[in-house]
Amino acid sequence: MKRLDLVRDILDTQVTDREETKMGRVDGLVLELREGQPPRVVAIEMGFVVLVRRLHPRLGDWFLRLRRRVKVRKQACYSVPWSRVLDVTPFCVTLDVEAAETPAFDWECWLRDHIVAHLPGVAK
């Protein structure tokens, strides 16, 4: 059995998709409390709002309000059920998804299509 520390080994770790494209970090973990049994990790969360909420809950609220004006991501918080986790190493959490199709890549795709594509010298 592999022993993992939630905070040391999983929280804040690099997340990649199955092609090894870096798609963000584990910004939060969701635990389920069960009657009479140990808690269970059900999902990992990714998103700037999750990150700033860790600094201060009010920052998170403020950020959500800002999001009403500038909205590129479909969801502020991308929650991935633990069942999609393929592998966990000390340096990487690999998910069974395609990065470009997840909310974690919405900004990347938006910037690519709206800015980078219009700059000179970018191979199609």
Binding site: V15, K22, R25, P90, E108, V122
Partner: protein
Amino acid sequence: MNMRKATQLALGIVTGVGGFFDIGNLATSAQAGASFRFQLLWALALGTILVIFLVEMSGRFAAVTRKALPDAIREHFGFSFWLVPFLVLTVVHFLVLASEIGGICFALHLVTGLPPAVWALPVAILTWLFLWRSIFSTIENSTSLLGLLTLGFVVAAVQHHPPSGELLAGMLPSLPHHDPAKYWLIAVGILGSVIAPYLFYFYSSGAVEDKWDPSYVGVNRGIAFLGMGFGSLIAFAAIVVAALVLAPRGIEVNDYHQAAMMLTDAFPFWGFILFAAIMAIACLGAGIEVSLSMAYTTAQTFGWNWGEDLNPREDARFCLTYTGAIFLSSLLILFGIDPLKLTIFTMAISAFVLPFVAIPFLLIMNDRKLLKEHANGWISNSVAAFLLVLSIVLAVVTIPLVFLGGG
């Protein structure tokens, strides 16, 4: 040692010569030599020893874990811990980048006579194009080969026959006979420019880009020692030239114009143009490194895809980070901020923030779970402990010095 490693070592040394010497070294060396002759050589020697150790550690970390430093520190200590060093690094990156761009603009001003502000945008576009169009190794190799021009300072220093007794005496710290505030401000600036916070963070990302593995630990040691050693030789030579050309004439460097003629005694015909070329090349090389470093740090903080070898379409956020950094920082020069004053201020800030960026780094170098037998030994840790104390002293004394020394 196989061919690839030998090439890496040679390149690393050349990069050290070219990449180590930047606007901060040029400005602080010229000031130190002009105002205090050889008396501040000790600050350079001390900074060099420390930076050799830091660069060796960051390269070793990258080779063993295949992770860049910002990446690992962010991951290991968490976002809340990393936030302060990250913000501090971003500010320093921004200021250093503006200073480097200012240096290129000033070099072009020397040659053309047009005000530096006119050059701000063209220089920003040029720097950006280098990053946008080339891949990592081409950048490193081309700027570092041109960076060998900086050896001009060494040739000039030798031609002036510096008094060896005085050189040796300068290697020992001593108290100034005049302007103590200025003396200490320059000393702090030299340390801030030599132990540039971006340098060791950048170096580890570069090693990851070059796909180093644990077999590179030895090569890395060679690069750190010889590359940084040779790089510091140039700064050493610049102090010597300023001490032998500017100081006897009573010229102090409060403006880059006052440093620009320092090579004309040794090379009457091309000394001036050589100075401008050295300034432009050194700043361009460093500017590229600093903008990349900023993009690496940001991308690794948020877990974005990154890599200079990727097409900008594959890491849009990474590329747009350096794009934004370059153009925003060039605005400082466009708005007419004096490049030398900006550089001196930036070097003081670099020294001030050293504890914030060095503490997490030194902590992670002792993590045996990550580094196993490659974790810091007692020598590295003694140097690290010394650096820690020094950096905290620097942080405490820097701000008053900026007020007293006139900034």
